[in-house]
């Protein structure tokens, strides 16, 4: 469904992404892991059409994504790392705006926003200003905004950062439900236990390159000394501080 071929992006003298290739199939959740500065967010930005790669291409069902207004972008939903919402507006008004960007209006828009608010458990707080929400509620609404136009492919950039265990669990359940519905999900995170729980495949990046791309079992097979995914991750990326 989603395929990245040889993506490359250079900022100044730094190759943020260097020859990244990966594929994502319907009903599959791919975790994209890597230390800070590994190129995960840049890769997600290219896949979402926010950033033009210096080389390589992104294909959706064989169609090469090109340009800002490419209709294929409708098939992609982005949940940015930041809580990308207007705190001054209600959840409903935020979703009306984001839905409007995809051409939704009237009854269709109202139905879509009720569906996603129900999915993330915020239907009863729809009219409240986002500023009054807890951190976990904002993260759930952030997810809802990415799902509003019912995309086939969902790109989530650290969607659980700073979230309490209850909201995290709720987000996991949402993602598992979406996976069952055939959505293709790409997920970046620093939490190894999340990747262990959710992933069908795990891609590990470092210095802008893919250094591993396998199932959890396959990674363990290649690194028999590692007790868990964190052990595999440290074996591949080393223990040097990156920040």
């Amino acid at each position: 469904m989603l395929e990245a071929r040889g993506l490359g992006k250079v900022f100044g003298r730094v190759a943020a992404v260097d020859g990244v290739s990966l594929t994502l199939q319907p009903g599959q959740l791919l975790s994209l892991l890597g230390p800070n500065g590994a190129g995960k967010t840049t890769t997600v930005s290219i896949l979402a059409g926010l950033l033009r790669p210096d080389h390589g291409e992104v294909l959706i069902d064989g169609h090469r994504m090109a340009g800002d207004a490419d209709p294929a972008k409708r098939r992609v939903g982005l949940v940015p790392q930041e809580v990308a919402l207007y705190e001054e507006l209600s959840a409903r008004d935020n979703l009306r705006f984001f839905g409007g960007l995809y051409g939704f209006h009237g009854a269709v828009l109202e139905r879509a926003l009720l569906t996603v608010l129900g999915l993330v458990g915020l239907a009863d707080r729809a009219r409240d200003r986002v500023a009054t929400y807890s951190g976990g509620m904002k993260r759930r609404l952030n997810l809802a905004a990415g799902l509003l136009h019912d995309p086939d492919i969902l790109l989530l950039d650290e969607p659980t950062a700073g979230v309490d265990p209850q909201s995290r669990l709720a987000i996991f359940e949402n993602l598992e439900a979406l996976k069952r519905r055939g959505k293709a999900i790409l997920y970046t995170t620093h939490y190894m236990e999340e990747a262990e729980r959710l992933s069908d495949r795990i891609v590990i990046m470092d210095h802008g390159q893919v250094i591993a791309d396998d199932t959890l079992a396959g990674l363990h097979r290649d690194h028999p000394g590692a007790r868990d995914l964190e052990g595999v991750f440290l074996a591949l990326t080393g223990r040097t501080l990156r920040d």
Binding site: A48, L50, D68, P71, L89, F97, H105
Partner: protein, 379 residues
């Protein structure tokens, strides 16, 4: 369908604007308050405000009939608030800024002036002490005093035989006969332009804040062209800035009897062109700006310079000649000229054409630069 994203952007921006009480207050109330203040300072609307008299001290060290006649005439003059005082008091009043000037009539002035009147080369001197911060008013004091001295000397020396050879009839040239100049028209145009530029700064800062909090990423991930994204911002910015200007003028019309004495169509053409210029200026701020806080400081400074040079605070005719020439490159100058022409000057539609075209030219320039320099890549 194609317009749905644009309408969504406009609706959201208007909602955000109206929920921000500070923005609403700054956009509507602040220009009204400041323009009312400026308008009242420069006001000469019939009977609404009395022109301030210039404080002048006069020292009569002569005490003769001519000097006494001069003192009497100056005291009766409507332009002056006269205090007859001793030399030291007069000097102190000017030094403290309590008086624009002090005029000292020296001993023997009347006799010497009489001889000089008939051609004697030695002329007596009237001494002027003046406040250097108010040199413009000094010229007025000197001119009016010259008239009184000439009248007093001629009346004393040749009573009934020499009269002042002319009278002055003052007529303010405004839109039509019996339509008084309304200083509030210029003040509200000036503050309207200033605050619509501030609203444009808010538009630019809003985009920078969207980038900072990741909303712009989400917006950019939608299948929308760059023209649509900037067009949506421009549309909402134009609506907000136009509201700013029109609300100010509506208030001025209701409360201070400001009228569009010229072409109504011309007034709206200039207003719309001005708001388009301001909106694209806001987009340019978003394109060139760094952090929202730093950008706000620089942009606010730029707006203050632009409106000051554009004559929004005080009319450009008091600027030096070279500066008046330079300000033709300042868009606010054209906005002010256009709005003045359509309000109190009462000029026809043709007088709005050049300001409107120039403002649209600035809008095209700012918009093109914004489109070229906008950092589209989200890294």
């Amino acid at each position: 369908m194609a317009l749905t994203p644009l309408l969504a952007m406009v609706r959201k921006d208007l909602r955000l604007f109206l929920t921000d009480r500070r923005a609403v207050l700054m956009s509507f109330a602040a220009p009204i308050v400041i323009a009312s203040f400026f308008g009242s300072i420069f006001s000469s609307v019939g009977g609404m405000a009395e022109r301030a008299r210039m404080a002048v001290h006069i020292v009569d060290r002569d005490g003769g009939p001519i000097s006494r006649a001069i003192v009497t005439a100056v005291r009766d003059d409507k332009h002056f608030a006269v205090t007859v005082s001793a030399p030291d008091d007069a000097w102190e009043a000017v030094r403290r800024g309590a008086a624009v000037a002090a005029v000292i009539i020296p001993p023997g002035f009347g006799d010497a002036a009489g001889r000089a009147f008939f051609g004697e080369p030695h002329k007596p001197q009237l001494k002027f002490l003046y406040d250097p911060a108010r040199s413009a008013e000094l010229a007025m004091v000197r001119g009016i005093l010259t008239e009184h001295v000439m009248r007093a000397v001629s009346r004393e020396l040749l009573p009934g035989r020499i009269t002042f050879p002319y009278e002055v009839r003052e007529e303010a040239v405004t839109a039509r006969a019996r339509v008084a100049y309304n200083s509030y028209a210029h003040a509200f145009a000036g503050m309207g332009v200033q605050f619509l530029l501030f609203a444009a700064v808010d538009l630019g800062i809003g985009i920078l804040l969207d980038r900072q909090r990741g909303v712009w990423k989400r917006v950019r991930s939608a299948p929308l062209s760059r023209a649509m994204l900037l067009g949506g911002k421009a549309a909402s910015g134009t609506i907000v800035t136009l509201m700013t200007l029109l609300v100010s003028f509506a208030f001025a019309m209701l409360v201070f009897k400001v009228r569009i004495e010229g072409s109504v169509l011309g007034f709206f053409a200039v207003s719309l062109a001005c708001t388009l210029m301001a909106t694209t200026f806001g987009l340019l701020i978003a394109a060139l700006g760094g952090t929202p806080a730093a950008t706000r400081g620089v942009a606010t400074f730029a707006v203050l310079i632009v409106v000051m040079l554009g004559g929004a605070w005080v009319p450009t005719f008091i600027f030096p000649a070279w500066l008046q020439q330079v300000t033709v490159v300042v868009p606010a100058r054209w906005a002010m000229d256009g709005l003045d022409a359509m309000t109190w000057r009462g000029l026809p539609l043709t007088a709005a054409v050049v300001p409107t075209l120039v403002l649209l030219g600035f809008a095209v320039l700012f918009g093109a630069l914004a489109l070229l320099r906008f950092p589209w890549d989200e890294s």
